[in-house]
Amino acid sequence: MQALVIAAHGSHLNPGSSEPTFAHAETIRATGAFDEVREAFWKEEPSFREVLRTLESDEVYVVPLFVSEGYFTERVIPRELRLEGWNVSDWESDGTDADHATLSAADVEKTVHYCGPVGTHDAMGDVIVERARSITEDRDLADFGLAVVGHGTERNENSAKAIHYHADRLRRSGLFAEVRAVFMDEEPEVDDVATLFETDDVVVVPLFVADGFHTREDIPEDLGLTDDYRRGYDVPTAVDGVRIWYAGAVGTEPLVADVVLERAADAGADVADAIAAVRERTRSGPEATTGTATGRSR
């Protein structure tokens, strides 16, 4: 038997935080690719500490639903799962190319395949494109600028690396007229999106796992879409003559379920049929994409 665990942050305060996790888990559950699919959280339940014991499977694929490699994926999750002998060097990553490591856990007799986070997988580029497509209602993106938004370095150096990584790949794909990485707390800032781009239209996609106060409140106000997020805003909204198409957190995009499966597949899970089924179900347009345009590097 094989199981999938989607490991996410969750929240004691924001009930919406875990919703993408449950939604992606449900999508994958419906494919039947895994005997068991379980959500696990740092702040909700089951906790990382206790999730493995809820499974009957002896092969477990753990995929962190996090944007970047860092404190949670490198320290908290392995520690709380009690992964024996974990060392971050097992991932052989420079900050954006963690793959997987096969380990055992101290409190259960199982083989645990600990995968890199969803956010840094190449397939996340496809999700950003999918998000841009759906928010622009399938307009020709070749005329659009794309701003990929990250939190920035104040929290985690690898967070910015992940944003740049996807922005660079998407730029090379040629799908957009212009692609830039922007940040909430470092240059170039999300506040300046309207002046940074040459294009008349810019799609803004935050690389965040769930919608919360950053993506619902801070970023729309920083972009100049509204003075007060409670009053809402249109998509698109013209700011300084530029039409801004604000997409909200990319993590809520249904195609993220595909990235979770890709992570498990990279670690050896037999899920090829499920990947095809999930792509069929969650993708709106033609098979994109950054993978075919730039070639998958791993």
Binding site: S11, F22, E26, F41, P46, V51, R53, T54, R79
Partner: protein, 390 residues
């Protein structure tokens, strides 16, 4: 030949002794026994005729094949639900009368071990007969936290169906409850309490009412319970097996990093207050098994819950962080002039918040220290002295 009979004949070679059914393949032919039938030295066709439609054979097959999973928490939980986990446990009930709900507290079963229906003897035989009769006649129900789970036999054969609802809704008309069949609906359903407030702690005694899961099979039932009360079945099972791995506060605190690194500084006395604040039955239905460390018990009731709490949870650690910061502040003497009634009123107010009864204080009940007008009056009069700015 039905599927039950074919499966029985295949398994007879290894012998069966389960829930009152005994089948052996001996040198003198088959032996077939149930609480109602006893035959020895019969051939395959006689065995097939006896087994065809026999409720004990159907029951055996349900547990051997539909449930399977010997040694798993899932199987142990399903056995426990119908009182099949040990001889002599009588928690049967009929229909929707929950008076007989078994709500056994801590330690139940821990000493007995999990017999899993394999023990022979008259008690087990009588038990199996009564148990199956009860499952046919309205079913059996048990409570798990605030859940009320009912199991009954499906139309014919040994298959079970399970229904789940809030225990307070045990006697509710099913037409008044929203019905669900997909376990995946459970996490959305229990995310908010009856007043629409987010429930960050799944085992808080604030499960919403008005819903039911109907006609679940065993796997779906356990999945539903896992969504409502994650990991409780797994830890309960470990405890029954004598293998619960308790992690005490000192170890949990020492493991924390980042913004939680400071919780190791929480004084033991304050840890006791924190457990009294957060971990008693009025706040959480888990039964606290952890202490400060293995040698230092906290003088706080552990609770009577069915399932254990094996480690301080994330909500407790987050609360402990705030308490640690509070304890780290220097204390000072503040002088505030209050009448005796005002002191009593403040006591009422603290109590009302602590017991979550603020919403119950009637608008015009100015006798109550937690009454809104009365508290606003206190703020208008003494707000500045009490450090309230507005």
């Amino acid at each position: 030949m039905t599927g039950d009979v074919a499966a029985l004949i295949e398994a007879a070679g290894d012998g069966i002794d389960f829930d009152g059914l005994v089948v052996e393949d001996t040198a003198y032919g088959y032996r077939f026994e149930t609480p109602e039938v006893s035959k020895r030295g019969i051939d395959t066709s006689e065995l097939a005729a006896l087994a065809d439609g026999d409720p004990y054979v159907a029951n055996w097959r349900y547990w051997a094949e539909t449930v399977g999973g010997r040694g798993t928490a899932r199987r142990a939980f399903l056995r426990w639900l119908e009182g099949a986990d040990a001889a002599g446990t009588d928690d049967a009930e009929s229909g929707d009368d929950t008076e007989g709900d078994s709500d056994a507290g801590r330690g139940d079963g821990a000493q007995r071990g999990d017999t899993d229906g394999d023990e022979g003897g008259d008690d087990a035989t009588v038990d199996a007969r009564e148990r199956l009769a009860a499952l046919r006649d309205g079913g059996r129900a048990r409570t798990w936290g605030e859940l009320r789970i009912r199991v009954r036999l499906a139309d014919a054969g040994g298959e079970r169906v399970y229904d789940v609802r809030h225990r307070d809704d045990a006697a509710a008309d099913p037409r008044d409850l929203d019905a669900f069949r997909d376990p995946g609906a459970a996490h959305d359903l229990v995310k908010y309490d009856d007043r629409g407030r987010y429930r960050p702690l799944s085992t808080a005694p604030s499960l919403p009412h008005g819903w039911q899961f109907v006609e679940l099979d065993g796997d779906a039932l356990v999945d539903t319970v896992d969504f409502v009360y994650p990991a409780t079945v797994a830890n309960w099972h470990r405890e029954r097996e004598g293998a619960l791995d308790v992690t005490h506060w000192r170890e949990t605190a020492a493991r924390q990093t980042g913004i939680y690194g400071l919780v190791s500084d929480l004084p033991t006395e304050a840890l006791t207050w924190a457990a009294e604040a957060c971990c008693v039955d009025s706040q959480c239905l888990k039964r606290r098994e952890w202490d400060h460390d293995a040698g230092t018990e906290l003088d706080v009731p552990r609770g009577d819950g069915e399932f254990p709490c094996r480690e301080p949870c994330s909500l407790f650690v987050a609360a402990a962080r705030e308490f640690t910061k509070l304890e780290g502040e220097p204390e000072d003497t503040h002088e505030v002039t209050l009448s005796e009634s005002e002191v009593e009123g403040l006591g009422d107010l603290v109590d009302a918040v602590a017991e979550d009864r603020v919403d119950e204080v009637r608008e015009a009940d100015l006798d109550d220290g937690a009454n809104r007008y009365r508290v606003r009056y206190l703020r208008a009069k003494r707000g500045r002295d009490l450090g309230i700015d507005s």
